[in-house]
């Protein structure tokens, strides 16, 4: 059983929540109370004023790898669980977002499991998507509205009904009204009129009483402090009714005009403000509810959330506490852009960007940059990088405030009307902050035969560019691959090609040529210049090949292996002669084409040896320094085969987690390494410098040829040798350039 207590600020929600928790505990329920107010005083009366560690403070100061749900859980009266969500300092940040984060943490930590009843004490009004979380995310099935007879309190209660009606129109979610008298002059009649007008029962009527003040001074609930008092008994009666099962009612908020009539003591007439179909059967009063099964349902609901699809779970930064300044590893790019980049490779799917124009200009121009640069630098049009089916919701500040799902729905239906049968919806920061949920749109599209895949990057929420790519990969791997009995035995899937590179096409062509020589063909490219049809039919191929390997590649592979039983060839696209030879032999064995593979390797070896013999005369004995910050075993293979005299080889150790990322390029350790490399270059006087970082030797002290090792060299037997042939043309040439001597002139005129 999960119950939320909503009401105007200062109306007594926390006192009522705590007393209700205590009363339910007396009834033998295992109760958890969660305070959702940044000032974190909801559970004080249950735990008797202990020092509180809020969930958000905890997340801020504790490294994720040591975070445990128990650390934010305090034990109170009769074993009640007490948790305070906490929040930012007043005037800073977004408290609603904080509530969302806290709830996701609690869910991930499985904190709800031991409890039969959860009570949410929710701040004031439904002020934003964050505070609507207990309702919106269906944490709480039952809602109590707390109000006094004061006008503002009743207005707030009506506003909460509007919020519930907007979030979950027509659903019976409200248990009833709790009237908390503010003392003499408080207008109970007005509350009764309001309850009648909104068709809700008055479940509890609390008098103004000294008992509450006395209990508060003792940091206890009335239920604990004076269990025999009339006030405590009222809570006990309500607890019994709750335990017996609550009858729930839909929200029927009043319009502004109706509220005005109510406040003036006139009969309430006219059209209500809400969405509800008025033909809905009127439910009985609070005391008439009977169904005892609610608790089980709510727990299974929570369980569903815990095991939900991964795109719903926002990852927090790994290994460091949020407040740790050293955790400020820059997010490289944005996840919205990453997801959109990858999705644009699916030619028969439309992309729906749920984002402001700013984010989409950025994302689309990011994609087209490959096309523009390709057109200019290679004279080639790359249609893969001209997204044709990309609608954007162009949301603005008002949508950010009031929600923009309506625009997403409108654009999605437009795409469907234009013939799109697959839509990939990607959300940016703003919908993430305002809590837009596209699942109802997805369900609506499903009914008209259109598949919508929601990539809920929520911009920075999901992390950086690579995280957006990851989310898109994983979502489509889980949701778009369809079961099939059809098999294409001479086919292979290619997985995880580099989606943001012009060389991927060349690499793929070379791989396809190699496969063709063995009588094989590609079934699905997951996900590069592909189609949803191919992705749906992924399982037709007996084997899959990773184009490259890294942590994400392994995770994608694991999804295919675990969820579909796919078999992978333990390789990335081979580079250089030896890797390619091994790869071809392995393929031959798997596809029972050993003879063809053997012939192919012989042919490849002959070509490679001929190339190396030709180049060896130029390279043999050359004093060489190597700086490698990328994985390139083909370089050492070449160094050996060409007979280079390697006098120094440096592979930086910094950033082991990301060998080519920022940690390598920007860490202090790298700085020292660079300085050493320059000094060594002066001492060792190499004739050849092979480096993956061209800036490492800006001006070589000798006339050494400085060769930049590219990240991509293609694939196949000759891929390495082709590079060596290029190097040979640069040997013995002094290309330092006298322009570098004109630095002082530049500074004279420009600086």
């Amino acid at each position: 059983m999960q119950i939320a207590v909503y009401g105007k600020g200062g109306i007594g929600k926390s006192t009522i929540s705590a007393n209700l928790s205590a009363a339910l505990a007396n009834e033998g329920e295992k109760v958890l109370q969660i305070g959702c107010d940044p000032k974190h005083d909801s559970t004080r009366l249950l735990h008797h004023g202990k020092k509180v560690s809020t969930v958000l403070d905890y997340l801020l100061n504790t490294s994720p790898d040591v975070q445990r749900g128990d650390d934010v859980l305090m034990e109170g009266y009769l074993g009640t669980g007490c948790i305070e969500a906490g929040g930012p300092k007043p005037g800073k940040g977004c408290a609603g977002r904080g509530i969302l984060t806290a709830f996701e943490f609690l869910r991930d930590q499985d904190i709800f499991r031991p409890y039969s009843t959860v009570i949410y004490d929710v701040l004031g009004d439904v002020v934003c998507g964050g505070f609507a979380v207990p309702i919106r995310k269906e944490y709480a099935q039952s809602i109590f509205l707390v109000t006094s007879g004061e006008a503002m309190s009743i207005y707030a209660a009506n506003n909460i009904l509007c919020g519930i009606d907007n979030l979950d129109p027509g659903s019976p979610r409200i248990a009833g009204i709790i009237y908390n008298s503010r003392g003499a002059g408080d207008d109970k009649e007005r509350v009764l009129e309001f309850a009648k007008a909104v068709d809700l029962p008055l479940c509890l009527s609390l008098p103004r009483s000294e008992a509450f003040l006395k209990a508060e001074r003792a940091a206890k609930t009335v239920v604990e402090n004076e269990p025999d008092s009339r006030e405590a008994q009222l809570f006990m009666e309500l607890a019994k009714r709750i335990k017996g099962g609550l009858s729930l009612h839909p929200a029927r908020p009043l319009s502004e005009e109706q509220m005005e009539l109510l406040m003036q003591g006139k009969p309430v007439t006219g059209t209500p403000a809400g969405n509800l179909n008025r033909s809905h059967n009127r439910s009985g009063g609070c005391e008439r509810c009977l169904d005892p099964g609610t608790g089980e349902e709510s727990l299974s609901g929570a369980e569903e959330k815990r095991t939900g699809s991964p795109q719903q779970i926002h990852s927090l930064p790994q290994k460091r506490a949020l407040s740790d300044p050293f955790s400020r590893i820059p997010l490289s790019g944005c996840s919205y852009r990453g997801a959109v980049d990858l999705a644009s490779h699916i030619k028969d799917a439309a992309i729906l960007g749920h984002a402001p124009k700013s984010c989409t200009s950025y994302a689309v121009n990011g994609i087209t940059s490959y096309s523009r640069n390709g057109l200019f630098s290679r004279g080639i049009i790359y249609p893969s990088f001209i997204p044709q089916h990309f609608e954007n919701t162009d949301i603005d500040i008002s949508d950010a405030v009031f929600g923009g799902v309506v625009h997403a729905r409108e654009k999605a239906l437009k795409l469907a009307a234009e013939g799109a049968r697959s839509i990939i919806a990607v959300t940016a920061c703003i919908p993430g902050l305002s809590g837009d949920d596209l699942k109802p749109v997805r369900d609506e599209l499903k009914e008209i035969g259109v598949d919508m895949y929601i990539i809920q990057t929520d911009g920075v929420d999901a992390g950086d560019y690579n995280d957006g790519v990851a989310l898109c990969y994983k979502t489509l791997a889980r949701e778009a691959v369809k079961p099939t009995d059809e098999r294409d035995l001479d086919s292979i899937n290619i997985v995880y090609e580099l989606n943001s590179s012009l060389t991927s096409d060349d690499d793929h062509d070379e791989m396809e040529a190699l496969l063709r020589e063995l009588g094989l063909h590609v079934n699905c490219r997951f996900i590069y210049d592909t189609s949803m049809k191919d992705i749906n039919g992924f399982l037709k191929a007996p084997y899959s090949l990773m184009a490259r390997t890294d942590r994400l590649g392994n995770e994608i592979k694991e999804i295919f292996e675990k969820e579909y039983g796919c078999r992978f060839i333990e390789d990335r696209f081979p580079k250089g002669f030896r890797e390619t030879s091994e790869f071809v032999r392995k393929l031959g064995k798997l596809y029972s084409k050993e003879a063809e593979a053997s012939d192919l390797v012989c042919k490849g070896e002959a070509g490679y040896r001929a190339q190396i013999d030709m180049l060896k005369q130029r390279f043999s004995g050359l004093r060489t320094m190597i700086f490698l910050s990328i994985q390139a075993p083909w370089v050492t293979e070449l160094a050996e085969d060409l007979g280079l005299d390697v006098v120094k080889a440096v592979t930086p150790e910094a950033g082991a987690g990301d060998r080519i990322g920022w940690g390598l390029r920007f860490s202090a350790e790298w700085g020292e390494m660079r300085a050493r490399f320059n000094d060594d270059e002066k001492d060792l006087k190499p004739q050849l410098i092979l480096t993956s970082d061209p800036s490492i030797v800006a001006v070589p002290s000798t006339g050494a040829a400085v060769i930049t090792i590219p990240r991509s060299i293609g694939t196949g037997f000759l891929s390495g040798a082709r590079q060596a042939a290029k190097w040979s043309k640069l040997l013995g040439k002094d290309l330092r350039g006298r322009w570098k001597n004109d630095k002082s002139v530049f500074e004279k005129y420009y600086c």
Binding site: P88, K89, G91, K92, G93, C94, R97, G98, T101, H314, L316, P317, L322, S323, P330, L331, S332, C334, S335, K357, S358, T360, S361, V364, N365, G366, T368, S369, R372, N373, L375, F376, I386, P387, H389, F390, E391, N392, D394, I395, D396, I397, V401, C429, I430, L433, G459, V460, D461, G463, D464, W662, R665, F666, N678, S695, A698, V699, E747, C751
Partner: protein
């Protein structure tokens, strides 16, 4: 889908805001947002901007005298590129607030080098938080003695030139003292050369250097100096001196609408607005004669220069095309801001006699520029060009940004693209070019003559 494609690829409000701020010499623009935003505003279009900051990260033996500290360049705010740092926000900052990280960034950045101006622009996500950040920015600005501009709520789904115009106006309001000079001082220009302010050039214009050079040359021939070329790497002092000019020239209404309205109301300085960019000899002559008349200067040298341009155009047309001029089948298509499109139509069709196939206005939220284009097209009998799909044109010279050129080329190989705006294909302009004035007229002529030859060659 076509219109959505073109809209998706045009620059946004924040790009305009960034441009208005970075177009001030020695300034730095800080995006208060995650690095995704920096990636776009710093690298996405800024890499082609002629900007001294781009060199501040030069390392090794070529490191410059006024380079930034390596530590800062490599820091979380710059991550290797000195252009448009960001505060490197993370998910948690959207909960707890961004001020701590913003202050950290400002302190680090301002401790390292002296800037003329620091502009803080909110990213889409942070603009939604509505935090009270200005007091903290102001305190750091005062402590470091570097003036600041803070753009709190940029238009998330508005277009670039609205962002440019509104931000330029914010800068002007902030730094230009509203007190006008005395009427005598203002009106008497007999003892000195007249001077003008130019509004409408922007740092992310494809040929901003060449545009400014040509305007300065032509105005110089009329004995008019440029007092402040707002947005084209003028200094903050130039902006402060805006009231000292004798006239304000507005080059493009869609870029300067609000700025113009404010300046006209706040200062007693006459405005000169041609309603479009001066492209081609006719519009250039109207421009020159108009501003000279306003300031009572001698424009005869400039008119002679334009006359020489007319002669040069005539020579090349007669030599290459004979008396017939351009073939009737030779057509062009153009997209862009209305002020550029209007001028291109006037020159390409009105002067050179080339037929327009498709005209696609961008950045015209008020639709007034489009109305003007419709009128000129109706006058010359080509109103259908306004409804033609620019991405489906064939056998044509296409004036557009590289996105549209690439899109058209994906359908048809027989297109000669002339890039008129960002984003570009990456062509690096070493020699300054322009579409404006006499030099612009000759550059466009060179492009269309070569386009005609190339398209004919492909046709065979």
């Amino acid at each position: 889908m076509t219109n959505q494609y073109l809209r998706n690829t045009t620059a946004d409000y924040i790009t305009g805001a960034v441009s208005a701020c970075e177009g001030i010499k020695g300034s730095i623009v800080l995006i208060n947002g995650p690095h995704g935003c920096k990636t776009y505003y710093g690298f996405g279009t800024g890499q082609s901007v002629v900007n001294g900051q781009a060199l501040l990260g030069l390392g090794g033996d070529l490191r410059l005298r006024n380079a930034m500290d390596d530590r800062l360049i490599r820091s979380q705010f710059f991550t290797g590129s000195p252009l448009i740092p960001a505060t490197n926000l993370r998910y948690e900052d959207f909960i707890f607030g961004t001020s701590e990280q913003l202050c950290r960034a400002l302190n680090d950045i301002l401790a390292e080098r002296k800037y003329s101006l620091i502009s803080v622009i909110q990213a889409p996500g942070t603009s939604l938080l509505s935090e009270a950040l200005e007091a903290e920015i102001r305190a750091i600005s005062e402590r470091s003695d570097v003036p600041y501009v803070y753009i709190d709520v940029p238009g998330l789904s508005e277009d670039m030139f609205k962002g440019y115009d509104e931000t330029a106006l914010t800068v002007i309001k902030r730094f230009v003292h509203p007190d006008r000079r005395s009427a005598e001082e203002h009106g008497d220009i007999s003892h000195r050369r007249a001077s003008v302010n130019i509004f409408g050039l922007y740092s992310r214009g494809i040929h901003v250097d060449g545009d400014l050079a040509e305007l300065a040359r032509l105005l110089g021939l009329c004995e008019i100096d440029i007092n402040c070329a707002c947005g084209a790497y003028c200094t903050l002092d130039d902006i402060r001196r805006i009231p000292e000019a004798d006239a304000n020239i507005f080059l493009a209404p869609e870029r300067t609408r609000q700025t113009k309205a404010y300046l006209e109301e706040a200062f007693d300085i006459p405005s000169f607005d041609l309603g479009c960019i001066p492209v081609g000899p006719d519009l250039t002559e109207s421009f020159i004669r108009g501003i000279s008349k306003l300031l009572n200067t001698d424009c005869s040298a400039a008119v002679r220069d334009i006359e020489e341009t007319r002669a040069t155009v005539f020579y090349h047309l007669a030599r290459n095309l004979g008396a017939r001029g351009f073939d009737k089948a030779f057509k062009y298509a153009a997209e862009g801001e209305p002020s550029l499109l209007y001028a291109l139509i006037d020159y390409l069709t009105g002067y050179l006699g080339i037929a327009p196939e498709a005209i696609h206005p961008l950045y015209d939220q008020s639709r007034s520029g489009t109305s003007r284009i419709r009128t000129i097209l109706e006058d010359i009998g080509f109103e259908e060009a306004l409804s033609a799909d620019i991405t489906k044109v064939r056998d044509i010279v296409l004036f557009a940004n590289a996105n549209t050129i690439a899109q058209v080329l994906s359908y048809s190989g027989n297109v000669y693209g002339v890039e008129t705006a960002y984003p570009t294909s990456g062509y690096i302009n070493v020699v300054p070019k322009t579409f404006i004035g006499c030099r612009g007229a000759l550059y466009i002529l060179e492009q269309v003559l070569n386009a005609r030859r190339m398209l004919k060659a492909w046709d065979r």
